[in-house]
């Protein structure tokens, strides 16, 4: 711990976040309520059956889309930073290129280099499923990140964010706030991410299902493109469509910068806004509590750090120390937690 705190450089912060992320995963992956405490960092760091102690040398091949989006950038940075914390891990990264085909080509060269384990965030899980099968058949375990492979034989372990759960968490927060305010039939807006991605649809479904259970519905929904300018544009139009609004959920904190700009430019503040993903900027805004943004639901890129840790354990044929199992589990879905002003301080180090 003291080592982490002694240095506030970017890399250390990332490492800190990664360590907390891994800790949160190891000790709290079943809990949806508990905020991470320093104890969880400690668990990942030193205790836990000596899993952190150097072991067999493991080569981890890594591939994630070379996107220009903050969240994906954080995925790659986290993976690199986490790999660097292990003296027994060699990290081989290949650029994923522009699309699924390019990523498949890059990954084939990776198979040729015979890494111990491959960690990848596929452009599209369905399109890269066959690659997973190929690598597994070649005896290289695949740890899939975030975008599910439909075929269970295509991966050794899958670690994913909870897209449906994000929608549920956002809706739950809004429902609670509306009850507190005594709004019986609220006007709710939604600014989604890229509509052609399945994850966007899943998020929206979780949101509308949960709202429906409480008797609420989405009055207007606009799909942006995970970018600030598209967020600003769609939000400005949504605000025109709903001259009065009680709450809005924006799927992604990166585009949320643009959404907040549109809200300020329109001079509107009669509603509450909930974000998504948990960027550092968003958590700081929530802490400052001077905008409509009152909460964000997590979808943390720390999952990349966890994936590297798990890949290392798989390579070393170890299990997760806190579980009884001798091996790493097949599938892990992170919980989507709600960050508010009250608990923001514990999450700020996880912000990307």
């Amino acid at each position: 711990m003291s080592k982490i705190n002694s240095d506030l450089s970017r890399r250390r912060l990332l490492f800190g976040g990664a360590a907390v992320g891994a800790g949160a995963l190891l000790t709290a992956c079943t809990s949806n309520e508990a905020a991470p405490t320093p104890a969880q960092t400690k668990a990942a760091d030193t205790t836990g059956g000596g899993n952190a102690a150097p072991g067999t040398k493991v080569t981890i091949g890594f591939s994630a889309p070379a996107a220009d989006h903050g969240w994906i950038a954080a995925i790659t940075n986290n993976a690199k930073a986490q790999a660097a914390t292990f003296s027994d891990v060699e990290f081989k990264s290949v650029e994923a290129g522009a699309d699924a085909a390019a990523q498949r080509a890059a990954l084939s060269t990776l198979i040729g280099q015979k890494p111990t384990v491959i960690v990848l965030l596929p452009h599209d899980g369905k399109e890269l499923n066959s690659f997973g099968l190929e690598a597994m058949a070649a005896g290289i375990p695949v740890v899939n990140l975030d975008r599910a492979f439909p075929d269970a034989r295509a991966y050794r372990t899958q670690i994913m964010g909870d897209n449906y759960g994000m929608g549920v968490a956002a809706a739950d927060y809004i429902i609670t706030q509306m009850k507190v305010k005594g709004v019986a039939s609220p006007i709710i807006g939604e600014i989604a991410g890229m509509d052609e991605l399945e994850l966007t649809q899943t998020r929206s479904k979780g949101f509308s299902d949960t709202l429906a259970a409480a008797g609420f519905k989405v009055a207007n929904r606009r799909a942006a493109r995970f970018t600030v300018d598209s967020g600003q544009q769609e939000a400005s139009q949504l605000l025109q469509a709903l001259p009065r609004m009680d709450a809005v959920w924006n799927h992604d904190d990166d585009q949320g910068v643009g959404v907040l700009a549109a809200v300020n430019q329109a001079g509107r503040k009669e509603f509450i806004m909930v974000g998504g993903a948990g960027s550092k900027q968003a958590i700081e805004t929530i802490q400052a509590d001077n905008t409509v943004l009152k909460a964000t639901v997590t979808y943390s890129p720390s999952m990349a750090s966890s994936a590297i840790s798990l890949a290392r354990l798989i390579g070393q044929k170890k299990g997760m120390a806190d579980l009884v199992e001798l091996q790493v589990p097949k599938e892990i879905v992170l919980a989507s937690e709600t960050i508010t002003k009250e608990n923001a301080s514990s999450y700020i180090q996880l912000g990307f």
Partner: protein, 333 residues
């Protein structure tokens, strides 16, 4: 199209007035559809006013890019890199180092980057003899790559209050962005219709060989046209950065398509030699109004894109139809 070249400059504008009146009609029709589908919203005059401003703001950034694009297309070229130039200029002007020089430094940087990248396109096309499509396609890829590298793929928040206030400040109740669009459009109109530069642009786009024989330095002129497009992108980058209070390598995504589509709907001939600034701005306004119309009715963006595509096809079909009848007319005489 042998007859197409015969028409005089004045004749062109006479025809374009008719075309622009048709576009104004389309715009009015869209507004009427809005009023019919959302009578409650349109019944509120305050809302109608803010909605008009919202549409104008939505059109402002793409509008500025479209003015530059119109010049390039009239001059016989195409610029696929405008969106990427907007992103690169925006990202460059929001790096911490640039931000430390204040608003003037940011504006200067964005414009210099825009013009410089535009001129690189121009040099590659004029002197390197690259096809505009290829040169600007290459620039599209590399400018975004550079923008991603400079920004470290992160969203760069602008902490400059002046830059951030451009989009939110108003003069006589109208946002500044709208004035900027108006200023660029008027400047573009004057440049195209009242200066030698404009006449040369039409000449170069209409028939480069004839223009060369007439003593126009076609290569230099073509290069300058791409520089002009880059300048517009630099201005647009500042506007977009102000609107989003930040810049990101992915911003300005697909602006090239929006700008080209707006110019074509506005009557600019894709093969060069003909086009008007007024038409292009009307094209941008039609797109913005459609987006607004779909948003206030809660319709999906997919449906909106399909309608946009349909409108582009319809506009080009109308143009072709016109040309067919023109060719027939000239063949008969």
């Amino acid at each position: 199209m042998p007859g197409g070249r015969k028409r005089s400059w004045a004749g062109e504008s006479g025809e374009s007035v008719t075309r622009n009146l048709v576009l104004v009609g389309v715009l009015i029709a869209l507004i009427v559809i809005g009023a019919i589908t959302q009578p409650e919203l349109y019944g509120n005059s305050t809302w109608v006013w803010t909605n008009i401003l919202s549409i104008l703001q939505l059109a402002s950034v793409v509008g500025v890019v479209t003015v530059g694009m119109t010049f390039v297309i009239i001059g016989g070229g195409i610029d696929l890199s405008v969106g990427a130039i907007v992103a690169l200029a925006g990202v460059w002007c929001t790096t911490l180092a640039t931000q430390s020089y204040g608003a003037a430094g940011m504006i200067f940087t964005a414009i210099v980057v825009g013009v410089a990248v535009g001129l690189i396109n121009g040099v590659l096309i004029s002197y390197g003899r690259l096809v505009p499509f290829i040169a600007t396609l290459a620039m599209l890829v590399s400018a975004r790559g550079l923008a991603a590298a400079i920004s470290g793929k992160q969203t760069q928040i602008s902490s400059n209050t002046f830059i951030n206030s451009i989009a939110s400040s108003k003069l006589f109740g109208v946002p500044w962005l709208v004035y900027i669009l108006a200023a660029v459009a008027v400047a573009g109109w004057i440049l195209l219709n009242r200066t030698t530069f404009g006449r040369r642009t039409v000449a170069v786009g209409g028939n480069p060989e004839a223009a060369r024989l007439a003593g126009i330095n076609v290569k230099r002129h073509t290069m300058l046209l791409y520089g002009l497009s880059g300048l517009c992108c630099g201005i647009a980058a500042i506007m977009l950065t102000s609107q989003a209070t930040s810049a990101q390598a992915a911003m300005g995504n697909l602006y090239e398509l929006d700008a080209i589509a707006a110019a074509i709907i506005g009557g600019t001939l894709l093969s060069g030699g003909r086009g008007t600034i007024v038409g292009s701005i009307l094209g941008v306004l039609i797109f913005a109004t459609i987006t607004n119309l779909f948003a206030i009715n809660g319709l999906s963006t997919e449906a909106q894109n399909m309608v946009k595509g349909g409108i582009i096809v319809a506009a080009v079909l109308v143009q072709q139809f016109r040309f067919k009848s023109l060719t027939r007319f000239f063949a008969r005489n």
